[in-house]
């Protein structure tokens, strides 16, 4: 077999796999639509404000509700000691507002 034929076959297989991924994504979204609705309902009922991704510290469990400087509340120069804290940035909006109101 010519090398170009083998290459075309390999590429075609990969392209089909790629299309299969897109198809799988679409099907999964349809199949799990119910779960999404259930989660949305639960979140609205309980008034949830955060994902439960990191449970080790208050400001990682509820980053949107945390005190502005809670990551450093023990001391302004305290080093971050929860690894997940390094994944979270304070957001600018709140930092900007700090200048007008005590926070």
């Amino acid at each position: 077999m010519r090398t170009s034929t083998s290459a075309a076959a390999i590429l075609l297989t990969l392209a089909l796999a790629f299309v299969a991924c897109l198809g799988d994504a679409r099907l999964t979204v349809e199949r799990r639509a119910g779960e999404v609705v259930a989660m949305r309902t639960l979140a609205a009922q309980l008034g949830l404000t955060d994902l439960a991704l990191f449970t080790e510290a208050r400001y990682t469990r509820h980053p949107s509700q945390a005190d502005l400087h809670s990551a450093f509340q023990d001391h302004p120069l305290a080093l971050e000691h929860f690894p997940s804290g390094s994944l979270i940035v304070p957001h600018h909006e709140i930092l900007d507002r700090e200048t007008t109101a005590p926070d």
Binding site: S4, I10, L11, A43, Q45, L87, I88
Partner: protein, 378 residues
């Protein structure tokens, strides 16, 4: 047309034969390249899907959450605040919320205690999140006891376990009756953790928030919009971290690709000379190299992307788990709902395929415009 296709196939045949000459090296390059696409695509798919989950949850979040601060720390809402806010115009609904954290020394994990507003949990009962239930071996109608803040052990009956499908948001939740909550934490009567507000006119939210900070200067309103933005930036940041971790890999790849592509060896230059002398046009040489770059980068892209999809959505992204889990004892188990964003895929494609094509093409361009008679004197 037919001869055009045949010609391209000849060029592909040739370029593949050339690649197969240095089989180990080129396969190595392909593997590293695919790996790079794999990690980038995994990070992209993962963070995008997480962001979508956050968006779903935050759709139902309170429009405004009002916290009170004492000396820079989150403090309880004293009695009277809720009435004061109730008199404000534009506020449709006010609800004092009760929630807090509890450290369970048995499994060394943090829980989030929460009182549902609809009073759906009976006295003496608890509804627990799925990760917590797993960790403590709890199921409906079993008993559990926690040491209350007064020091004594308090027993509860598990009324229900929250559905696994909601685990990403409810992993560590314990839903509890209001009276039990106040008794358990010695929570002063009439106080609340924070206040959730519903605003009548969605456009007025920011106005209401400004009025709130004037009315209650020691308070901090958090808008739903801001929560949403927290999550958007959180995952952007995480992608950033991934990129930082990856920059070493990207650099290594860049060096490899550059070395392979731009360090045109004397042999390769001679080869181009031969091709030109025996009747190949400069354009044919460049087309042949375009095929080389295109085939390698397309293969690497498809391979990396498909592997990333399977990794993230079929196997639950095991490679990212250590980063996510951090030090937590309780971590959610969740199957992300796949989200594939065309623009993101296109961006990834552009940033992985284009540089390689350029690295392959630029030096060839220079070599291919040399005079064909040079080959007569080698």
């Amino acid at each position: 047309m037919k001869s055009w296709i045949e010609k391209q196939r000849h060029l592909i045949d040739f370029t593949l034969s050339s690649l197969l000459r240095r089989r180990g090296r080129n396969l190595g390059l392909l593997v590293v390249y695919s790996l790079l696409v794999f990690v980038l695509a995994s990070a992209m798919l993962y963070s995008h899907a997480l962001r979508r989950e956050a968006a779903v949850i935050l759709e139902g979040a309170p429009e405004v959450v009002l916290q009170r601060l004492v000396a820079g720390r989150h403090d309880l809402i004293p009695p009277g605040y809720i009435d004061k806010i109730g008199q404000m115009r534009g506020v449709q609904d006010i609800r004092g919320r009760l929630w807090g954290y509890y450290y369970d020394s048995v499994v060394k994990a943090n829980y989030t205690f929460m009182v549902p507003a609809d009073g759906s949990v009976a006295k003496g009962a608890l509804v627990v999140g799925p990760a917590l239930a797993r960790q403590r071996g709890l199921e409906a109608n079993t008993g559990v006891s926690f040491r209350a803040y007064s020091g004594e052990l308090r027993s509860f009956i598990i009324a229900d376990v929250l559905p696994q499908a909601s685990e990403i948001a409810s992993a560590d939740l314990i839903l509890i009756n209001e009276d039990d909550f106040r008794a358990f934490f010695n929570y002063p009567a009439g106080h609340y953790t924070d206040v959730a507000l519903t605003v009548a006119n969605a456009k007025e939210v920011r106005n209401v928030a400004n009025k709130l900070s004037k009315l209650l200067p020691d308070s901090r309103p958090i808008l739903r919009e801001e929560m949403q933005r927290t999550y958007a930036s959180l995952f952007d940041w995480r992608e950033g971290i991934m990129l930082a971790l990856l920059s070493a890999a990207i650099l290594a790849f860049a060096i490899l690709a550059w070395e392979k592509a731009s360090g045109l060896s004397a042999d390769e230059k001679r080869e181009i000379g031969i091709l030109k002398a025996i009747g190949w046009e400069t354009g044919d040489v460049i087309r042949m190299k375009l095929w080389e770059g295109g085939l390698i980068s397309l293969t690497a892209f498809l391979l990396g992307f498909v592997a990333a999809y399977v990794h993230v959505f079929k196997f639950g992204a095991p490679l990212f788990a250590p980063v996510l889990k951090g030090w937590a004892v309780l971590y959610p188990r969740f199957d992300l709902v796949p989200v594939i964003d065309g623009l993101q895929v296109a961006t990834l494609f552009f940033f992985t395929v284009f540089p390689y094509m350029a690295a392959v093409l630029v030096p060839i361009w220079r070599a291919a415009v040399t005079d064909p008679d040079a080959v007569m004197r080698s």
